[in-house]
Amino acid sequence: MDELIKELKIKLIDTLNLMDVTPDDIDENAQFVGGELGIDSIDVLEMVVMIEKDYQVTINNKEIGEKVFSTLTALAGYISENSSRFSS
C-alpha cells in the first residue's frame, strides 16, 4: 500500500502538472479535493482517466468518486482492492 501511495503521488504530480510540488509535499491523509494542492473537478476527471488507463480501475459513479477521492490513502485503497495488478 505504501508503494502504491508513493507511485500515486508521482503520477498525481505528473498528470496534473503540479508545479513546484514534490511527493514529500503531499499528505496522503489530507483532504484531496479543495485542499492545499488546489485539486478541483477537472483534476478529478484527469485522475479518473489516468486510473482507468494505468490500473484498469473504473470509477463511474458519483458516490464512489466522492469516497475514493476523499484522500490519497482512500484512492490507493480503492485501486488495490479493484485492480488486477494487486489481486494475488
Binding site: 498528470t15 496534473l16 502538472n17 503540479l18 477537472i42 476527471l45 484527469e46 482517466v49 482507468e52 488507463k53
Partner: protein
C-alpha cells in the same frame, strides 16, 4: 480606420524544439499548470501589448492563428487513434480554440467579447477587418487583436500542409495590437482594405501611394521575390520593410510585419501587401508622429 495604441511582439526562431516559456510567463505572474505551449505563447504576446495600459474590463480579445494549437490536436489524435485511449480531459478542453482566449482574458482581467477567428488565406487581415468593422460600427471600444502560431514539432508535414518550400525555416510568434477608435495617445492609424483587389487595382493604388512621402512596403511571404523586386523597381521612392530578416515563417507573420514597423519607426507609412487566389489584400499603417 482605427487606431493602434500598443503593440506586443513575441517572435522567435527556435533552433531545437519549442522554447520553454514558463520562466517568462512566471515572471509575468501568468503561469498556469493547465496551459500548454500555444497558450503560453498567446498570453506572453497579449501581456506585452497590454503592459502599461489600463485595459477596460470590457476589452474584447480577437485572436487568430494559421495552424492553431497543433500540439494538443496531435496529442488527442494520438490518444484516440494510436493508443486507443481517452484523451486527457485538459487536452480536450484546450483543443477548443477559445480556451486560449480564456487564458488571456483571465490573466488580463477581461470580460469582453472573446473570439477566435480563422481564415485559409488571410487570417491576420480578416481578424483586423473584423476588429475594424466592430470598432467603426461602435460595437467595441477596445480590442486586443493578435495572431499566434507555435513552432511545428513536425516541420516537414507542417510545410506540406502550409504549402511552403521544404527549405523554409519555421518560427513562432505571438503578435498583438491594442486597437480603439480614439486618436489621442495612439501610436498609429490602421486601415485594412475590405476586399481583395486585382493587379490593375493594385497598380493604381501603388501609383496613388507613391504621391505620399515616406512610404515603406512590406511583402507577405506569398509574394514571390521576383514580384517584390518588380514592385520595388516600379516605385523606386518606396522603401522596403525587411522584417523577414528578423523572423522565420509562420502564418500570422503579417501581425509581426505591422508591429515591427511601428516599433522601429517614429513616422512613416507602411503598406502591407499579401496575395491569395482571389488577388491582393492590403493593409496600411501610418505612424502618428
Amino acid at each position: 480606420m482605427i487606431y493602434i495604441h500598443a503593440t506586443g511582439i513575441h517572435n522567435t526562431i527556435p533552433t531545437s524544439g519549442q522554447p520553454d516559456l514558463r520562466a517568462e510567463l512566471k515572471a509575468m505572474g501568468a503561469d498556469n499548470r493547465r496551459s500548454d505551449h500555444f497558450m503560453r505563447l498567446a498570453v506572453i504576446g497579449a501581456h506585452k501589448a497590454a503592459d502599461g495600459h489600463e485595459l477596460p474590463a470590457e476589452t474584447a480579445v480577437y485572436m487568430t492563428s494559421g495552424q492553431g494549437n497543433t500540439a494538443v490536436f496531435n496529442r488527442i489524435c494520438s490518444a484516440l487513434r494510436i493508443e486507443k485511449n481517452l484523451p486527457k480531459p485538459v487536452d480536450f478542453i484546450n483543443l477548443l480554440s477559445n480556451s486560449t482566449g480564456f487564458y488571456i482574458a483571465s490573466h488580463l482581467g477581461l470580460a469582453g467579447r472573446n473570439i477566435f477567428l480563422t481564415h485559409h488565406h488571410f487570417p491576420v487581415q480578416m481578424t483586423l477587418l473584423t476588429a475594424q468593422n466592430d470598432i467603426t460600427q461602435g460595437l467595441q471600444q477596445t480590442i486586443l487583436a493578435g495572431g499566434v502560431d507555435e513552432w511545428q514539432t513536425r516541420p516537414q508535414l507542417a510545410r506540406k500542409l502550409m504549402g511552403i518550400e521544404e527549405t523554409t525555416v519555421l518560427g513562432e510568434g505571438s503578435n498583438w495590437l491594442l486597437l480603439s477608435p480614439e486618436r489621442e495617445n495612439a501610436l498609429a492609424v490602421l486601415e485594412v482594405e475590405k476586399r481583395c483587389i486585382n493587379e490593375e487595382e493594385l497598380t493604381l493604388r501603388l501609383r496613388a501611394e507613391s504621391k505620399h512621402h515616406d512610404i515603406t512596403i512590406a511583402f507577405a511571404p506569398k509574394i514571390t521575390k521576383s514580384q517584390a523586386a518588380r514592385f520595388m523597381n516600379q516605385y523606386p521612392s518606396f522603401k522596403r520593410h525587411n522584417y523577414e530578416a528578423a523572423c522565420a515563417y509562420y502564418e500570422t507573420l503579417a501581425f509581426y510585419a505591422l508591429n515591427s514597423f511601428i516599433a522601429a519607426h517614429k513616422k512613416g507609412r507602411l503598406l502591407h501587401i499579401d496575395c491569395g487566389t482571389n488577388g491582393y489584400m492590403l493593409m496600411t499603417v501610418e505612424i502618428i508622429p
